[in-house]
């Protein structure tokens, strides 16, 4: 079961069928993207936080909180990586504050639901890898 805040975002995308409106929605998310704060990490970012296969040089952090929840942070080093920034913004805003168990419920399937026709060949793999990296971090945090 996907976390409810993420489901709300997916529901919004499902309601918007016009490609231009969908692109604008994605760009709004990309504009809201805030890179990882300096108290968590500063560039050059460590390679073990780099998302494999992501063309936009995306990094991800899952930071456990005292109350058992966790926050997600991303960095996207390619200034042209609008898609990666949009997805990072969606993931960080809808999954932060949940428990690692809840965060792990996210699925790479959301990439198709979010981007649909606004995606180039080969790009899906990198974006799905961002989701898989989140899942892997959540799994590791849960098992800790």
């Amino acid at each position: 079961m996907l976390p409810s805040a993420l489901r709300d975002v997916l529901d919004t995308f499902a309601l918007v069928s016009d490609p231009v409106d969908r692109a604008n929605l994605l760009i709004d998310f990309a504009n809201r993207f805030r890179p990882v704060p300096p108290e968590i990490a500063t560039p050059p970012y460590p390679a073990d936080h780099l998302v494999p296969y992501c063309e936009s040089e995306a990094y991800v952090w899952l930071v456990p909180q005292a109350d058992g929840t966790a926050n997600l942070h991303f960095a996207v080093e390619n200034p042209s990586g609008i898609s990666a920034k949009a997805l990072a913004s969606i993931l960080a805003s809808t999954l932060s504050g949940l428990t690692p168990e809840e965060i792990e419920q996210v699925s790479p399937d959301i990439v198709e639901q979010i981007f649909r026709q606004n995606i180039s060949m080969g790009k899906g793999m990198g974006l799905m890898a961002m989701v898989q990296a989140v899942q892997a971090l959540a799994r590791a945090a849960r098992q800790r």
Binding site: V20, A23, N24, L26, I27, A30, L50, Y53, C54, E55, S56, E57, S80, G81, I82, S83, A86, Q117, N118, I119, S120, M121, G122, K123, M125, G126, A129
Partner: protein, 288 residues
């Protein structure tokens, strides 16, 4: 300060225009500025006023087969962006104009020779603080009668590449050194778009595509600097048939542009099947 294009000694320098030139032709009805990027969401975040977007996945590729668009689809695309065969199309985009060169190359398959690349692309336009807009322009639909796609002069297929290898023809591998050596199966930090084997086509010279570019502003190097790389360092001969390849054909279309237009190679083709075909072909010769 970049040297003016006309003083850089290119063989066919008319294929390149400056940001200044583009800026003075924004309202010119005989010119259409076209943006092509890797990420199709980049154009809607802001683009040159009046520029249209042509996307490599949605517009230039066949939606079912691994191939380029048909004549009919090209005519429909041309109509949508409001061009005729007489319109001068000017391509620009992200990252050293890689997808811009790819779009330029596809347009040549249909013989649209009134085509240019804007030197420096998005990077230079932005660096110079020139205007951008999110407004998507609307142009009246045109009627464009295209000829059938002619792959022969610009495009190489696998069997032709194989014959070229056997004849010890000039081959240029424009991927990263790690991809060329087979140490890495894909572009650094880029998705692995599926090849079962690593390495390079036997006899290919390793000349990474972005060596043709000045990294600080995305402009092309001068003809002398390019000759130093391609002719002196790698002993390529401009009169010999030459085939360039990468992983899916976009980086090699950039090198194709450099060799054909900037250095005047007489016969250069882009093997767009590239490593994602060669590295999966049963029995194809590979060197590591």
């Amino acid at each position: 300060m970049t040297t003016p294009i006309e003083s850089r000694g290119y063989a066919r320098g008319e294929a390149l225009v400056s940001t200044d030139w583009a800026a003075t032709h924004l309202q010119d009805p005989s010119v259409r500025i076209i943006e092509s990027n890797e990420d199709m969401l980049l154009y809607p975040t802001g683009h040159i006023p009046g520029a249209v977007q042509v996307d490599w996945t949605a517009d230039l590729n066949d939606q079912v087969r691994r191939d380029y668009l048909s004549r009919e689809a090209f005519e429909a695309l041309a109509s949508r962006i409001g061009i005729t065969p007489e319109t001068t199309v000017v391509f620009y985009g992200d990252k050293n104009n890689w997808w811009a060169c790819y779009a330029f190359w596809v347009f040549q398959l249909f013989g649209h020779t009134q085509a240019r690349v804007m030197d420096g692309g998005r990077l230079k336009w932005d660096q110079e603080g020139r205007p951008t807009t999110r407004e998507v322009p609307k142009y009246a639909a045109t009627t464009y009668r295209a000829r059938e796609r002619q792959d022969g002069p610009h495009r190489a297929f696998r069997n032709e590449v194989l014959a070229h290898v056997r004849a010890k023809g000039q081959l240029v591998d424009v991927r990263s050194p790690e991809e060329y050596s087979g140490a890495r199966m894909h572009m650094p930090d880029y998705p692995n778009e599926g090849a079962l084997r690593g390495g390079h086509i036997p006899g290919a010279r390793s000349i990474p595509w972005a060596r043709a570019i000045n990294a600080d502003d995305g402009t092309f190097k001068t003809a002398d600097e390019l000759r130093e790389i391609y002719l002196q360092e790698h002993a390529l001969k401009p009169t010999e048939p030459t085939i360039a390849y990468c992983r899916i054909g976009e980086r090699s279309s950039h090198t194709w542009f450099v060799l054909r237009y900037l250095l005047g190679f007489s016969n250069v083709r882009n093997y767009d099947g590239s490593w994602t075909e060669w590295g999966n072909l049963v029995g194809a010769p590979i060197e590591k």
